[in-house]
Each structure stands twice: as C-alpha cells, then as structure tokens.
C-alpha cells in the first residue's frame, strides 16, 4: 500500500518536473519564434500586437523591403568581413600564444614573465576613454582594422587552450624531441591535430563574439556604410523601440499606422539566422568551452 502511494507520488512529481522544464525551454525559444512570426505577419496585425507564436496573414513583404535595403546589406557585408578577418587573426594569435605558454618553465625560462604580463593586462585596463583615444591616435577610426586588432588577442581563449595543451600527455614532447622536431613542427603536426575540438571551440567563440559585437562599431566607425550589422541594428531597431517606449498611447497608435515593426523583426531575424543555423550542428563545441578550462590535474 505504502509503496504504491509513494510510487504514484514519484510519478506525479516526475511529470510536474518535466512540465516545468519543458515550459522553461519553451520560454527560451519564445523570443526567437515570436520575432520570426512578427516578421512574417501583416503590418496591421503586428502593430496591434496580435501576434504570439504564429504569423497572422502571412506574407514576405517585410523581407522584400529588407532585401531592397542597401545599407542593411552593406552592414551585413562588413560583419562578414570582420568575422572572417577577425576570426583568422584570433585563431592564429591564440595558437601562437597558447603553445609557448603551455611549456614547462624548464623548457622556456621566460614563460612566467609572459604569463604575468598577460595577467596584468587582464586585471588592469585604462578604461573606455583612454582606449578610444589610443585607437584614434593609431589612425584606425573608420577602418575595418579598428574592429579586428583591438580584440586580436582573446586572452581568455589563450588561457583555455593553454590549459588544454598542458593536459596533453607529456610523452608527446619526448617523442618529438627524439625525432628532432622543432617547436613549429611540434605545434603544427602534434599539438594542433590532437586539439582540434578545443581549437574549434575557441575559434567558434571568437567568431560568435565578432558577429555579435556592436559597441566597437558604434564608437570607432562613424561612416554608416562601414558599420557592422549589429551596430546598424542597434541604431535602427533598438533606438526606435526606445523612442517608442517614451511615447504616449496616442502617439503609439498614430505611429502604428506607419509602423515598420515587421521590417525590424525581419532584420533582427536575418541577423540572428547565421548563429541559429550553425548552433544545432556545432552545439557540442559551443557548450564544450565552459568546461574546457576547468579540466585540471
């Protein structure tokens, strides 16, 4: 008797737990599905706030407007350029720094000096204004390099990969030295091939952060057609919503007639799409990163 009752209770509690988890998971995807639904809906329905998860009077009008928007695609191209350029630079710098820093002190006596220097740069910063003025002094304002070089050293990724290298078997170095392999050969032919998942993870991290960055574009690039997509969207979509929030109800109703809520939603969705499309295939690399650094002996 007792055991059946407790069995029922445990079945019920399992059901409740599952329901709560599924509701929370649904909440996590709701914003994305909602914005997709709005972007595919009729303008009037969108302005009236009638859309929840499914498009109302579905059409592609908003997308055809976005596809005619020259500035949107210029910004999109800038973002692609910075991701390719910045991703490569981050990738090369991360490997080139992580490998020597992963050496033992006996093999590379200056290792700790470099390490302390890097920790110093992590700990201390001049702050926003001096950083901005330095980049201005270097003459990088309005150049794509302003979006690539200041973040060229992903210190966090360097430390992640360094820790990963350090956990590889020590016999690797013995074998390499018996074969007479130099540091470049060891890095290219031994360490990189053995660390592909970790390298994929840190590279993915820098690609995502390049795609998502907007603030550097906002302050370092003053020419609209050279600004990356997220900066463009910050100015077009977000500022508009912010203005909307300060309006009276009448203002909102009046504006609703001219609303480009659907167009803005389409822009947000297109900007979101590359990450959403990659995510399901690469999610184990996305998630790998956070546990990568914590593996230690």
């Amino acid at each position: 008797m007792m055991s059946t009752a407790s069995h029922v209770i445990s079945r019920v509690s399992y059901g409740v737990i599952l329901a709560v988890l599924l509701a929370i998971a649904a909440g996590s995807v709701f914003p994305i599905l909602h914005i997709l639904a709005v972007s595919l809906s009729d303008k009037a329905a969108a302005s009236a706030g009638k859309i929840f998860l499914l498009p109302v009077d579905m059409n592609f009008a908003a997308y055809s407007i976005v596809f005619d928007d020259r500035q949107f695609f210029q910004s999109f191209a800038v973002s692609v350029e910075r991701v390719l350029l910045g991703g490569w630079v981050n990738f090369a710098i991360t490997l080139l720094m992580a490998y020597p820093l992963s050496r033992e002190k006996e093999a590379f006596s200056a290792r700790n000096v470099y390490m302390w220097f890097i920790i110093f740069t992590m700990l201390f910063s001049g702050g926003l204004i001096p950083w901005y003025m330095a980049i201005k002094q270097f003459g990088m304002i309005n150049s794509i390099w302003a979006l690539v070089l200041p973040t060229a050293v992903p210190v966090f990724n360097v430390i992640l990969l360094m820790n990963f290298f350090r956990n590889l078997p020590k016999e690797l170095d013995d074998a390499a030295s018996i074969d007479g392999a130099g540091p470049w050969y060891s890095l290219m032919k031994l360490y990189i091939p053995l660390s592909l998942p970790a390298i994929a993870t840190v590279t993915l991290f820098s690609i995502v952060s390049h795609w998502n960055a907007f603030f550097d574009g906002l302050i370092l690039i003053n020419v609209p057609h050279k600004q990356p997509l997220q900066t463009y969207l910050n100015q077009i979509v977000v500022q508009m919503n912010v203005n909307r929030s300060q309006m009276t109800e009448e203002d909102v109703k009046r504006l609703a007639l001219l609303s480009d809520k659907t167009v803005n939603s389409a822009k947000i969705f297109i900007a979101l799409f590359p990450i959403a499309a990659l995510y399901p295939f690469l999610q184990r690399y996305f998630i790998h990163g956070i546990t990568l650094g914590s593996v230690k002996e």
Binding site: G126, I129, V242, R244, L272
Partner: protein
C-alpha cells in the same frame, strides 16, 4: 637555434598587440589628473591633482550610478545563480538522455544571441503595443510602460538577463552533478531515502564546492551590471534607475567629450574591480582549491 628563440618569436605578435591596445591606453589614465585639452595632448594639458575626483564626488549622479551598478549587478548574480541551480537540480532528475540533452541545447541558445538582437526583441515584447501589454489588456489590466517606468525597468533588466543567461549558467552545475558518485545514491536508496532526502543528503553536498566557487567568482562582476544590455534597452526616462558606471562613462566621456571626468570615473571602477578580483580569487583558492592556471 634553441627552441626558446622560437617560443619568443611565436609570442611576439600577440605581445605587440597587447602593448598597443591594453598597455599603451593605460598611460591615458593621466587624463584623470589633468584639465585635458585634446589640442594640447597629455604633455601640454595642465595638471589638476585630484580635482576631477573631488568634482566627481560632488556630482549627485555619482552616488546614483554607483548604487544602480551594485544593485543591478548583485540582483542579476543572485537571480541567475539561484534559478540556474534550481534548473540544474530539476534537469538532473530527468533520466531520459535524449530529452535531457534537447532541453539543455534549447536553453543554452539565447546566450549566443547578441544583446542588440535580444534587447530588440525584449523591447518589442514589452512595448506598449507589445504582446505582454496585449495580454494584460485582455485580462482587463491597464497597460504598463515597462520601458519607461523606474519601477518596472530594473525588474525587466534582471528578468531579461536571467532569461538570456540562466541556461548557460547551468552548464557548470550539470557538470558537477554528473561528477557525483552513483554509489552514494545507491547507498542512500538502501537506507530508505526518497528522492527529496537524496537531494538533500547526496546531491547538494556533492555540488557544494561548485556552488561556493561560482558564488565567489561572481564577486568579480559586482562592478559590471551589464553594459551592452542596458545600452540597448535604456532611455532617458529610466536613467534614474538604470544608469550604471559604464553607461555614464560612455555618455559623459565620449558623447559629451568630458574626457577627464570619464577617465576618472573609469579609473575608480578599475581600481574597485581589481580589489574584487583579488579578493574573490583568494577566496576561491581557499574555499574551493581553485586555480586558473
């Protein structure tokens, strides 16, 4: 050639970039002690000692932005920690592997969406003609100006931050949960413990170190209340409740070109942050035997 030479060679590009973009700007801190004039530069501008700092402390805004920063940051840290811990404990009860994995994958995703996009969506959902207000009106309630109310806006900031980040914060707890020895559960089961007692006597002690570690490391972010999020969501009507140190430095220092003041406020933030980092790291080593390298 000795290998050491090649190691130096590999490090040179990165070190030069750090010197240019991290170390060199540090010299700009002198501005905080000058009456800075852009045409004269650092060498030509007159020194004013601590004047910028005394001026800063006389501004009524200073206390407000400091209070907002700490209040928002601590609220976000606590809400995220608590909710991601609860979520991880619930998810740990799911034994069906594929289902568990699918839920995890879905809740991690918002972390990888930028604040420009997530903020844009949040602003739309919570605007006067957004879906939340439409639902409120259907329920016979008055619409709420979430984005323009100093009462609601901080809650919206904390709520949307948790919405976006709680999933990602669970990763580390789930990793700790899988590390608990299954034999402990078996032993508890033989002793007649039910699920709840197992959670109390086995699960929670098993992840205690991780929870302490995360809490202690969170201390480092007490000065970071979420610059990108707030910059994408706030407006002058809610400055009173949501203007933080970073947004203030950006507006005063860059938009209004009060370089010295912006630098001074930024410097003060850096100094406090370093203290917090050192304290939190020392505590992490002591309580959780944690080391970054």
């Amino acid at each position: 050639m000795k290998p050491g030479f090649h190691y130096h060679l590999m490090l040179i590009p990165g070190i030069i970039l750090l010197l240019m973009f991290s170390v060199y700007p540090m010299f700009g801190i002198v501005m905080a002690f000058q009456d800075y004039n852009p045409t004269k530069g650092f060498s030509g501008s007159p020194w004013v000692g601590w004047e910028n700092f005394t001026y800063m402390f006389e501004l009524p805004d200073s206390y407000l932005i400091f209070k907002n920063t700490v209040y928002l940051a601590v609220s976000k840290i606590m809400a995220n920690l608590l909710l991601s811990l609860i979520f991880a404990l619930l998810l740990n009860e799911i034994k069906h592997k594929l289902l568990k994995r699918s839920i995890q994958t879905v809740v991690y995703f918002p972390h990888f969406v930028s604040w420009v996009l997530f903020g844009g969506i949040i602003a739309q959902i919570f605007s006067l003609d957004g879906v939340v207000n439409v639902i409120l009106q259907m329920l016979g309630q008055q619409p709420i100006q979430f984005m323009a109310s100093n009462y609601w806006f901080p809650a919206l900031l904390v709520g949307s931050d948790v919405w976006k980040e709680f999933g990602f914060s669970t990763i580390i707890f789930l990793a700790a949960l899988t590390g608990i020895n299954p034999a402990l559960y078996e032993a508890a089961g033989i002793d007649g413990a039910n699920r709840l007692r197992m959670m109390w006597h086995v699960t929670l002690p098993g992840i205690r170190t991780t929870v302490i570690l995360i809490a202690v490391l969170s201390l480092q972010n007490v000065m970071n209340a979420g610059f990108e999020q707030i910059l994408n969501l706030y407006n002058p009507l809610v400055y009173h409740s949501s203007d933080i140190i970073d947004t203030y430095v950006y507006r005063i220092g860059l938009l209004q070109s009060q370089y010295e003041l912006g630098t001074a406020v930024g410097l003060l933030k850096s100094v406090v942050s370093i203290l917090l980092i050192v304290i939190s790291y020392k505590m992490a080593v002591k309580f959780a035997n944690y080391r970054i390298f």
